[in-house]
Symmetry: C2
Subunit: 248 residues, 2 copies
């Protein structure tokens, strides 16, 4: 089994190394990941800058290819250039340091890595750990490897990928879920630079969570691994019939 592995925390992050060690037990893994942290870059791609690629070692052994771009760049360049247009069996993105459930899905570079895989016709999954300090990727890497094997066995529909979020600490189980749609409200702290210029720093206010284990935002905080099937066809089909009645 051939796996292309990427992330958005960068090729030197602990999360990608943890899942790598699990995946190489059963697969041929090619790592193509950003050379620096690319958190919250969404599905951005690099069209107006060159992409440099260099080989990276970890623990004195060749680990993978660092790209001066974003996760979606890594998947595109990984398949087209590094794998010489030979599609892998799977694209795995992560493990992200921090949750990517609910509307985080729009901002996440990790999720975009998996979406890019799906767009290129490869079964893909994004893995994220719900933790913001002192992460321990041991358990989440095992869960990630288990789900990777399940995807390889069961396959995914064309244009659909899995967005997986894993709680830190005790895991109650694995649940198929829906993406939470409650927005993350931006909060802006006004500050003053050493040069006396005002600036703003954005943070996010966590959304309200409905008490419903079928929604990823709730089930994750309730201790479950959430597995959401995400598709790449964004048309609101229900609204389309109404739109057809508009007088243009």
């Amino acid at each position: 089994m051939k796996i292309l592995l990427t992330n958005d925390d960068g090729i030197y992050a602990p999360g990608i190394y943890a899942i790598y060690k699990e995946l190489i037990k059963f697969a041929d893994v090619t790592v193509v990941a950003p050379d620096s942290e690319q958190s919250s870059v969404g599905h951005g791609i690099t069209l107006n800058n060159p992409l440099f690629v260099r080989k990276v070692s970890r623990k004195d052994k060749f680990f993978g290819y660092a790209v001066s771009g974003k996760p979606a760049d890594c998947v595109k360049l990984g398949i087209e250039v590094i794998l010489k247009k030979q599609k892998p069996d799977l694209v795995v993105s992560g493990i992200n340091f921090g949750n990517n459930d609910g509307c985080s899905i729009f901002y996440s570079g990790t999720v975009a890595g998996a979406r890019e895989g799906a767009l290129m016709g490869v079964d893909s999954l994004a893995l994220s750990l719900d933790c913001w300090e002192n992460p321990d990727f041991t358990e989440s890497a095992k869960v990630g490897a288990k789900l990777t094997k399940l995807v390889a066995k069961n396959k995914l529909p064309k244009g659909t990928f899995l967005n997986v979020n894993i709680p830190q600490g005790k895991i109650k189980g694995i649940l198929p879920t829906r993406q939470g749609t409650e927005p993350i409200h931006g909060q802006f702290e006004k500050r003053r630079s050493p040069h006396e210029r005002e600036y703003y720093w954005m943070s996010g206010k966590n959304p309200t969570h409905v008490n419903d284990n079928s929604i990823d935002t709730y089930a994750l905080r309730n201790g479950y691994v959430t597995v959401t099937g995400v598709h790449c066809s964004l048309t609101d089909e229900h609204f389309l019939s109404k739109l057809q009645e508009w007088k243009f």
Copy 2:
């Protein structure tokens, strides 16, 4: 009617000025746009850098607020800080220089501007001109203003926004469409820098277009303005029932 106007080509781009001139004929328009070009940044947001804001004039008159961030930042900061949490009636994003139909929707900062508006609970639309050189935004600005009025009149479902693409030249009509799902394949040109380092430059190979005016990619190239209702709930509901049968 209060409108928040943004784009991804930057506050000095011709497209945003063209639609601004049309919108101020019937609305109170607040421009909050990136201070530099932010094409293909997708739905990225700025969490690890400060956001600076400055006032910008065009033709010796106050035009709007330039933000050192991405389109989604501009919408968040525009509503939270500049409009002091007072939601506008509409968010308009564009007019983009270049098409954002089909799978471009994932990479586009312009589309992300409208999606962020929708996430914040505001009826929103993204406007893009299908043209890559010598753009003339005169006609597309009129079409954009017309569609903006229609959205204000008819309203949109919660969490759904409009992705509008407008052909350059003669317009055959306005069609409700679906997002094309054919992927845009990245192509990488290998080059050598003046410092003798190899690099790659990405371009995109246009997707194949099915002969079907209900798909935006085809209808746009066939001379129609395409209006696609895009939703922010990405769960593949059909696949969810299959996923529930997986043995976790």
